[in-house]
Point group: C2
Chain length 203, copies 2
DNA sequence: GTCTATATTTGGATAGAC
DNA sequence: GTCTATCCAAATATAGAC
């Protein structure tokens, strides 16, 4: 009887190449813009001819989809600040975490959180990863006492506003990033006051 | 001696055609996306062949530039809410004005306020119009007592955050638009409290 | 000012040999 | 799995006749 290998060197190699292709695609997206990546240029940088890429991905959008999945997995798996039970501190720490993640890679933010690549929609599998990541955030905010949809909408607006301004008007800097703590103080003050008025418990 | 006409019918006609071309370009940008407009399609819709457009504009970017100038002029010339002297009310009204302007035409917002068309930069003339519009806003906020750069950065982040969320996650709806008044209350409360602490006059 | 014809570039994708 | 060769489509832009 023939021995059955527990590892498949061929598919390991294949996965490694796919990873390399996606890595080069990200590199290109960061320098030339997310919409400007081309199969020819990706192929050139990994030392292939363009058609060879089709052995690994069915289409250009399949590459975008792999990029989306990778970015979403990074968000899902990244270590989050520990919860201390002090609502304001936790809120500040978590928003710093979020804005930091978004602004450290504008191309990734564009792919994950904005709708800007014409004709690209993430696959159900990739989308599920991203939903899982956002769900972590939602649960955490709920533990802090923020579960009113309106309040969450206000909070997400502040988060994306700081992120967008940072990326658009001070890329690489920290002009808006450093406003996160103050913005959360403002938000927290507002929400707790409003909750008291409504006779609800403080978070 | 020959009579000298006070009007130049030829150049009037020419300007009218340029305006028509830009109008069709906007129409296309709104339906297909700002980046997706093509000279062929513009020409087709105005009843020309593509090369004929070059009699009116030197390049595709020149059309983008004319669009930019038109959008900036709309922002500059639009009637703004009257100032009442009540800082919070004026702030709310002005932010409603801004978010309304931005969200009513996502393509225009994208062209004027985001950097998303690869290779396009507005000309100095067009850019000056947009600067004049933003300057109106800056002056108005200064009259309300908001002139600290940090405070203005926080305010613009809230404004673009509400706008972006509205456009990205509820296009055509009002899920974030209707949070403007509350957001301004929150901001106002925060800033006045902070000013008092610093011993400065209330706005 | 508008047209036809065409240059030029660039992109995604496929066929088929090796 | 990789290559060469090629297809096909779309885009901006130019030349030159009318």
């Amino acid at each position: 009887m023939l021995g059955t290998p527990t590892r498949d060197r061929r598919s390991e190699r294949r996965e490694a190449t796919k990873t390399e292709i996606v890595g080069v695609a990200w590199e290109l997206a960061r320098t030339e813009g997310l919409a400007a990546i081309s199969l020819r240029e990706i192929a050139r940088r990994v030392g292939m001819q363009a058609p060879s890429l089709y052995s690994y991905f069915d289409s250009k959008n399949a590459i975008y989809d792999a990029m989306f999945a990778e970015g979403a997995r990074e968000f899902l798996n990244r270590d989050r600040p520990a919860e201390t039970g002090k609502a304001l501190r936790d809120l500040q720490a978590h928003m710093r975490f979020f804005v930091q993640f978004c602004t450290e890679d504008a191309a990734r933010y564009q792919l994950l959180f904005q709708r800007t690549i014409p004709g690209f929609e993430p696959s159900a599998d990739s989308f599920a990863i991203s939903v899982a990541g956002l769900e972590l955030t939602r649960e955490r905010l709920a533990r802090m006492g923020f579960d009113d949809p309106r309040v969450l909408d206000l909070l997400t607006a502040i988060g994306t506003g700081l992120t967008d301004q940072q990326i658009s008007n001070d890329p690489g800097g920290d002009r808006w990033v450093r406003l996160v703590d103050e913005a959360m103080e403002m938000f927290f003050q507002h929400v707790t006051t409003r909750m008291k008025k409504k006779g609800r418990a403080r978070p």
